[in-house]
């Protein structure tokens, strides 16, 4: 698809020759002439300051009236060069920076980074720490999916959904704050385990939150899932076939909504996910509604996981001994974590010195965004916002 707007192949001559007097105008010829007039698309700029708060993404849309002919996403407005800064610091000093990547689910980044260093340096993580990491990850996933429900509703006009979703999210943040001390940027996973154990009856708080959330889910369904206007706005819009989804490297709910069962928690289980019984949400039709529903159903799976974690939580140390200076052996290692947006993977290369040679962050939002340009062509402007919202990207991890 060429990105230039459809320019007029042959500009009309100065003055159209006047048809001979008398004969009826040939309607077919007139119609054809109008068709090859070839209107020029209007180039419109959506973003970088854009009301549907996905951060700073600029879409250059070529519009033909209400239809979108071509769309070119421009990113880089939040680029900080984090990976270059990682090369100037010892391995473990980079952990606090990872909170600011996917700032909606920071614990996933912490875990991915810590896991990569553990695999590189061969550090073992005690049982209790692994179980607690799973609990933290799922709680953070619930908070992230709740934010998605809110912003996706606002994109389609249902602003009340944002307020309801944030009301539950505040409960989740309060719980996360009780254990980690922060609301958004936790920095609570260390190489080899966790910095501290959970406060007592924190697990009761989490289980109470699970019951509260499950009682509120029907309310979300009444507001969005079963709402005919919402259904008509999202069903059949922006359909991604399973082959395209795989070819574009989509991951997470965006991929699973198209029918490809690829969830790192089940595909390459890490921490204690192999011993937890939960099912991967895989839908079929791959449109905007399926992507929304995939995340909405994952909320229930996360609640199910949280309920199993605490009765299998063993006693024991919370972190394993790691030396003052960490010099991993030369080599390359990568970690894979299922973040709410998809497969988050840190690739680290070491040459034996305390600082890494290279830290590459494979951000799921970065990969998922590549499909936007081709998905949006041919839809309406209102659909662009719906499709962008359904892919659920966070610009912090796209631009790194």
């Amino acid at each position: 698809m060429s990105l230039e707007p459809r320019t007029d192949p042959n500009p009309p001559t100065a003055e159209p020759e006047t048809p001979a007097k008398g004969p009826a105008i040939d309607a077919q010829a007139l119609h054809q002439e109008i068709l090859d007039l070839g209107t020029q698309g209007m180039v419109m700029n959506m973003g970088p300051q854009h009301p549907s708060t996905h951060g700073v993404l600029r879409l250059i849309l070529t519009l033909d009236g209400e239809e979108v002919m071509a769309c070119e996403p421009m990113i880089g407005y939040l680029h900080r060069g984090l990976e270059k800064m990682a090369e100037r610091r010892p391995y473990r000093h980079f952990l606090p920076f990872t909170d600011r990547l996917d700032y909606v689910c920071s614990l996933a980044n912490n875990l991915a980074c810590a896991q990569a260093i553990e695999r590189l340096a061969g550090v073992e993580v005690p049982e209790r720490a692994q179980w607690l990491r799973v609990a933290l990850m799922e709680l953070n996933r619930i908070a992230s999916h709740l934010l998605f429900l809110g912003t996706f509703g606002t994109d389609l006009g249902a602003t009340t959904m944002l307020l309801y979703a944030f009301r539950e999210r505040e409960e989740a943040l309060a719980l996360l704050e009780a254990i980690t001390g922060a609301r958004l940027t936790y920095n609570w996973i260390r190489v080899g385990g966790l910095p501290d154990d959970m406060p007592e009856n924190w697990d009761k708080g989490v289980l109470a939150f699970c019951d509260l959330l499950e009682s509120r889910l029907p309310e979300y369904d009444r507001l969005l899932t079963d709402n005919p206007i919402f259904r008509r706005r999202t069903e059949g819009v922006g359909v991604v076939s399973p082959e395209d989804a795989k070819a574009y490297g989509l991951t997470g709910p965006t991929l699973r909504a198209s029918g490809v069962a690829y969830d790192i928690r089940r595909w390459a289980p890490y921490e204690k996910y192999a011993e937890i019984d939960f099912d991967v949400v895989v839908l079929r039709d791959g449109d905007t509604f399926a992507r929304y529903l995939a995340r909405r159903l994952e909320l229930e799976q996360s609640v199910r996981i949280l309920r199993q974690v605490f009765d299998k939580l063993p006693e024991g140390p919370i972190a394993s001994k790691v030396g003052k200076v960490l010099k991993p052996p030369p080599g390359i290692a990568f970690s894979q974590v299922e973040s709410p947006r998809g497969e988050l993977s840190f690739t680290m290369v070491s040459d034996g010195s305390p600082n890494p040679v290279r830290v590459h962050i494979r951000a799921p939002s970065f990969a998922n965004l590549t499909v936007l340009a081709d998905l949006v062509a041919g839809n309406k402007v209102a659909d662009v916002v719906a499709i962008l919202g359904s892919i659920d990207i966070v610009l912090g991890e796209v631009d790194r």
């Binding site: 300051q49 951060g55 800064m85 505040e170």
Partner: protein, 177 residues
Amino acid sequence: MGEVSPDLQSRVVKFPGGGVLVAGIDEIFNWARSNSMWSLTFGLSCCAIEMMATAASHYDLDRFGILFRATPRQADVMIVAGWVSVKMAPFIRRLYEQMPDPKHVLAMGGCACAGGPYRDSETIVKGVGEIVPVDVFVYGCPPRPENLIHGLIKLQERIREESILGIKSREPITVGG
């Protein structure tokens, strides 16, 4: 309000009842302006999520009359929430200039105030103060909703001190992290 020459200020006060007149008008104008601060939705990164949480039902900015408007033309306060990159700076400057007077800027978060943890990053502007004049710095990474509300209240107090005869000292207020 254009820049008012200082001697006008003294002449007006000398005018019998002038001081009261000016004070009266100031009172009404500042009451209206401070109680209806419409803010420009300008979320950049993690602080934007915390700004949304502050605007949500738990902390609710609507109580103070703060409404989020999408266009700079109808905004009085620009809350810069997040780190500002070199590529984004011209847009912030243009948005600031598109806002009608009297306008204020609240820099939210360590990154907007002074570049935050990205001291050695090459593409991050060390604080939005280099691009637009900032009234209130709210530190924190991200600042808790209470901090942001504290900063907004400080901004309201600052607006209440303003006078149509030109602003007194414009030292920026800093709210701790």
